[in-house]
C-alpha cells in the first residue's frame, strides 16, 4: 500500500450487561478506554485525536453525546470526530480512526464506540411511528425476519442450521469474560425449543440488548514497530446502498459483496476460506452467519449453511466464526461493530485468551447496519503488510 502502514496497538472493552447501572455513560466509556490504553501501553499525551461512534442518539436521549463526553475522552484541545452509520458504525468508526493515521495526519488515535441501551428501549426508538405509514414495524427482528425467510427459501437450508449458529456463538461467549450472555450449557435442541419471536427467528437466535463500549488505539508504522504484538491493518472497505429499491437483493446485498471483493483484492486474498484464519462477523440473528459467509465470498451462493452445519465455523473448524461469542452474546449496538473489529485484532495479536484461535495470523472484522445496506470491514494480520 502506498499510504502509511497502520496497526492496532491495543484493545479494550467493558463487561457487557443488559443494564450497567453501576456506571454513567462517561464511566462506561472509560472502562473500555482505560483497558485499551493499558493494552497499548500509551498515556493521554500519546493520543493525538479521538474518534467516537454510536448508533442513534435517540437510544440515550442525548444529542451528539460526544460533546458532553469530551472530558472523559481526554479530548479537550484535540480533534474529536463522531461517526454514525447505523449498525455498522462501530466498524466505520474504526476505519475513520485508521484513516486519520493512514493519511499521515496523526501518529496515534483513540477510537471508542458505545451504546447504553438501558437508558431507554431500542425497540421503542426503532419503531417510532412515522405519520402516514402502516405501523407494521417490529424493531430489528421484525425487519430482518422476512429476509431470513427469503434466504431459507433460496438456499434450501435445513431449519436446524440457525440453531447450530446460536448454540455455537453462545458457547463461545462462555469463553469470553466480557460477554453479556455466557451459556456454556446451551444446545441446538434447547435453541430449537425456545419461543418463536419473529417467525422464522427464535428467542435464542436473537441478539441481546446490552450496555457496553469498545475502544482501540490505532498507530502508525513506527508505533506498530514499537509495539510487542500489533495487529497490522491489511485492508479496509466500506460500501453503502439504498434501503429499498426495485429488484434489490436483500439476502445478499451487492454493497456487502462489493466491499468484500474490494477487501480481498486489496489484501491479495484469492481464496478467503483457506487464507483467513478467523472471522468476527456481525451476526445479530443466527441465520446471518450463513448469509454473510456467502455474501463475503467464503462460500458460494446457497452454500454457506453447509460450512456451518459441518462445524467448520466452530472453534477448531476451518474458519472459526465469532470465537468471542459475537453479537449473539453481546450487543451494545453502537459498539457491536467495533467489537468485531477489535476481536479480530485480538486474534492476530494472540490476546484472545480462552477463545483464541490457535495460530491465527489473519482475521476478518465485519459489520453491517441499516436495512443490510451499510457495510464496513477490515482484514488484520500479525505480519506487516507488504
Amino acid at each position: 500500500m502506498a499510504e502509511q502502514r497502520t496497526a492496532v496497538l491495543g484493545t479494550g472493552q467493558t463487561h457487557h450487561r443488559s443494564k450497567r447501572t453501576d456506571v454513567s455513560m462517561p464511566g462506561l466509556l472509560r472502562e473500555a478506554v482505560d483497558r485499551a490504553m493499558a493494552d497499548a501501553d500509551v498515556a493521554w499525551s500519546d493520543i493525538d485525536a479521538v474518534v467516537v461512534g454510536k448508533a442513534p442518539d435517540l437510544f440515550e436521549g442525548v444529542m451528539m453525546p460526544e460533546l458532553f463526553l469530551a472530558d472523559a475522552l481526554g479530548a479537550n484541545g484535540k480533534p474529536l470526530l463522531r461517526v454514525h452509520t447505523a449498525g455498522s458504525v462501530g466498524g466505520s468508526t474504526a476505519l475513520v480512526a485508521a484513516s486519520l493515521v493512514r493519511s499521515g495526519v496523526h501518529r496515534r488515535v483513540l477510537t471508542v464506540a458505545f451504546e447504553k441501551q438501558s437508558e431507554s428501549n431500542a425497540m421503542w426508538a426503532l419503531s417510532i411511528r412515522v405519520p402516514f405509514t402502516m405501523p407494521v414495524g417490529a424493531g430489528a427482528g421484525g425487519y430482518f425476519a422476512p429476509h431470513v425467510r427469503s434466504y431459507l427459501r433460496r438456499s434450501g437450508a435445513p431449519e436446524h442450521v440457525g440453531a447450530i449458529v446460536a448454540a455455537k456463538d453462545r458457547r463461545n461467549g462462555a469463553l469470553n469474560p466480557y460477554a453479556h450472555l455466557r451459556q456454556s450449557e446451551i444446545t441446538v435442541d434447547s435453541v430449537q425449543a425456545s419461543q418463536m419471536l419473529w417467525d422464522p427467528i427464535r428467542y435464542d437466535e436473537t441478539c441481546p440488548s446490552s450496555d457496553g463500549a469498545c475502544a482501540m488505539v490505532i498507530g502508525d508504522e513506527q508505533a506498530g514497530d514499537d509495539a510487542p504484538d500489533p495487529a497490522w491493518i491489511h485492508a479496509t472497505a466500506m460500501r453503502t446502498e439504498p434501503t429499498t429499491f426495485a429488484g434489490r437483493d436483500q439476502v445478499s446485498p451487492r454493497a456487502g459483496r462489493d466491499a468484500a471483493t474490494a477487501l480481498w483484492h486489496q489484501a491479495g486474498i484469492t481464496d478467503p476460506l483457506s487464507q483467513v484464519d478467523a472471522a468476527e462477523i456481525y451476526v445479530p440473528f443466527s441465520w446471518f452467519e450463513p448469509m454473510w459467509l456467502e455474501n463475503l465470498g467464503f462460500a458460494a451462493d446457497g452454500e454457506g449453511w453447509k460450512l456451518t452445519e459441518a462445524g467448520e465455523t466452530a472453534l477448531g473448524g476451518r474458519l472459526p466464526v465469532n470465537p468471542s461469542g459475537g453479537v449473539l452474546s453481546s450487543n451494545p449496538i453502537g459498539a457491536s461493530g467495533m467489537l468485531r473489529f477489535s476481536e479480530a485484532a485480538k486474534q492476530v495479536m494472540g490476546r484472545a485468551g480462552e477463545h483464541q484461535v490457535d495460530g491465527a495470523r489473519t482475521a476478518l472484522g465485519h459489520a453491517y447496519g441499516g436495512g443490510s445496506q451499510y457495510f464496513s470491514m477490515w482484514l488484520v494480520g500479525s505480519g506487516k503488510p507488504a
Binding site: V62, M64, D71
Partner: protein, 362 residues
C-alpha cells in the same frame, strides 16, 4: 501525501421552512445536479461520499439513511456519515483523498431545523445528568456568553450590532440568503428616529442581552462540496481552491469551568493551519458576539473581509451551515476573487467545537 482541493460548491436556498421531508432529498437533488454540471462529473465518478446530519433534528432514528436516495446509490457507493455539521464530513473526505484511496469525494450536509423547536432540541446536547434536565435552550446559553463579554468590556452592544448590520448588507448579494437588508447600528439598536409608531427599543431584546439581530434565524437548508486530489482538480475547475490546512478541536463541555469569552479550540485549530495572509474569512458564528470571539482567536485583522456571504446570521441551516462557510470561502477562489481564504465551522453549545480550514489558489 496527496493535496486536496475544493472544485465545486452549491447550496439550497436558506429558508425559514421548507415543505420538504426531513431526509433532505428535495433540497439535495437539485444541488447535486448543480455540482455535477459545474464539474462534468456524474455520480459514478465520485470515489467517496460523506454527509453530516442529525437524527434529533428530524426527530427519528436513522434519518440520514433515506438521504442516500438522493444520490441514486446503486451500484453501491463508498460512503460514510458523521452526526456533526458536514464540515466534519469534509474533514473525513479530505483524509480519504489524502490516503490516496480515492481522488474525488462529494460531501453534503442537510437539516430541516424547522421540523422541531430548534432551541429546545439543542438543549439535549448538554450534560444529560446535571444540565439538560433543566432544558436550557441554545439561545439562552449564548446570551450568558454574550453578557460575560459585554460586562468585561470585551465587546459592546454597538460592536454586536455592527456585525449584524454588515451581515445583512452583505447578504443582499447572496441569492441563497434567508434575508438581507440595508441597515445600520443606530437602526438596529433602536436609537435612530423611526416612523414605526410602535417601535420599542426593548422589544428586540429577545434574550437579554441578545437582541433579535444578534441571533441566527432558524433555517432549513443543505449544501454540497466536491473535493478532488490537486492533480485531478485541474481537470474539474479552472481555479481549484486547494486546502492548505484543515484542523479541528474541542473544548470542555463544562460551561461553568471555562472562560466563555474565549475559544481555545478555535485558537488551536487556527494555529495548526496558519491564518496569516488570509484575505477573506467565512466564519460560522450563529450569534454576533461569537464572530468577535472567533476573529480574535484566529488573529484576523481589520484587513480581512469577514463573511461576504452574510454568514450564519442571515441563514444558519443546521448541519450544513459550517460546510457552507467552507464552500463560500472556496467560491472566492473558484471565482478568481481571492487567493487565500478561510472557512470556519462550529458545533455544540457556546462554540464548544471548531474547525478551521485555509484554502489557496492552486
Amino acid at each position: 501525501m496527496t493535496e486536496v482541493a475544493v472544485v465545486a460548491f452549491a447550496q439550497a436556498p436558506n429558508v425559514r421552512r421548507t415543505h420538504g421531508t426531513t431526509n433532505g432529498v428535495e433540497m439535495l437533488v437539485p444541488i447535486f445536479d448543480e455540482v455535477y454540471t459545474r464539474t462534468g462529473l456524474s455520480k459514478t465518478d465520485i470515489g467517496f461520499w460523506c454527509s453530516g446530519s442529525s437524527d434529533y433534528l428530524a426527530g427519528r432514528a436513522f434519518s440520514f439513511i433515506s438521504a442516500v436516495d438522493a444520490i441514486g446509490a446503486f451500484p453501491p457507493i463508498h460512503e460514510s456519515h458523521v452526526e456533526m455539521d458536514a464540515a466534519w464530513a469534509l474533514y473525513e473526505a479530505w483524509l480519504k483523498i489524502r490516503t490516496g484511496e480515492v481522488d474525488t469525494a462529494l460531501v453534503y450536509g442537510f437539516g430541516k431545523s424547522s421540523a422541531g423547536e430548534l432551541r429546545r432540541v439543542l438543549s439535549l446536547q448538554l450534560d444529560p445528568y446535571t444540565v439538560a434536565p433543566l432544558w436550557p435552550d441554545s439561545v439562552s446559553i449564548a446570551a450568558l456568553q454574550a453578557r460575560l463579554g459585554l460586562e468585561s468590556g470585551r465587546w459592546t452592544e454597538q460592536d454586536l450590532a455592527e456585525v449584524a448590520a454588515r451581515s445583512r448588507r452583505d447578504a443582499a448579494d447572496n441569492p441563497r440568503a434567508q434575508f438581507s437588508g440595508e441597515t445600520d447600528v443606530a437602526t438596529l439598536l433602536g436609537s435612530a428616529p423611526t416612523t414605526e409608531p410602535t417601535a420599542d427599543p426593548t422589544a428586540d431584546l429577545v434574550a437579554d442581552p441578545l437582541r433579535r439581530h444578534d441571533i441566527a434565524p432558524v433555517t432549513d437548508g443543505a449544501a454540497v462540496i466536491v473535493l478532488a486530489s490537486a492533480e485531478r482538480a485541474r481537470d474539474l475547475a479552472d481555479r481549484p481552491a486547494v486546502i492548505s490546512g484543515i484542523d479541528h478541536r474541542i473544548d470542555t463541555p463544562s460551561l461553568g469551568a471555562r472562560d466563555l469569552t474565549t475559544s481555545p479550540s478555535t485558537r488551536l485549530a487556527g494555529e495548526a493551519v496558519g491564518t496569516d495572509g488570509v484575505e477573506v474569512a467565512e466564519l460560522h458564528a450563529p450569534f454576533t458576539h461569537q464572530e468577535l470571539i472567533v476573529r480574535d482567536e484566529l488573529g484576523l485583522g481589520d484587513d480581512v473581509r469577514i463573511n461576504p456571504s452574510g454568514g450564519a446570521l442571515t441563514g444558519n441551516p443546521m448541519f450544513s451551515a459550517g460546510l457552507a462557510r467552507i464552500g463560500e470561502a472556496a467560491q472566492r477562489i473558484l471565482d478568481g476573487d481571492a487567493t487565500r481564504t478561510l472557512g470556519h465551522a462550529t458545533s455544540g453549545p457556546a462554540l464548544q467545537q471548531n474547525l478551521v480550514t485555509v484554502l489557496e489558489r492552486g
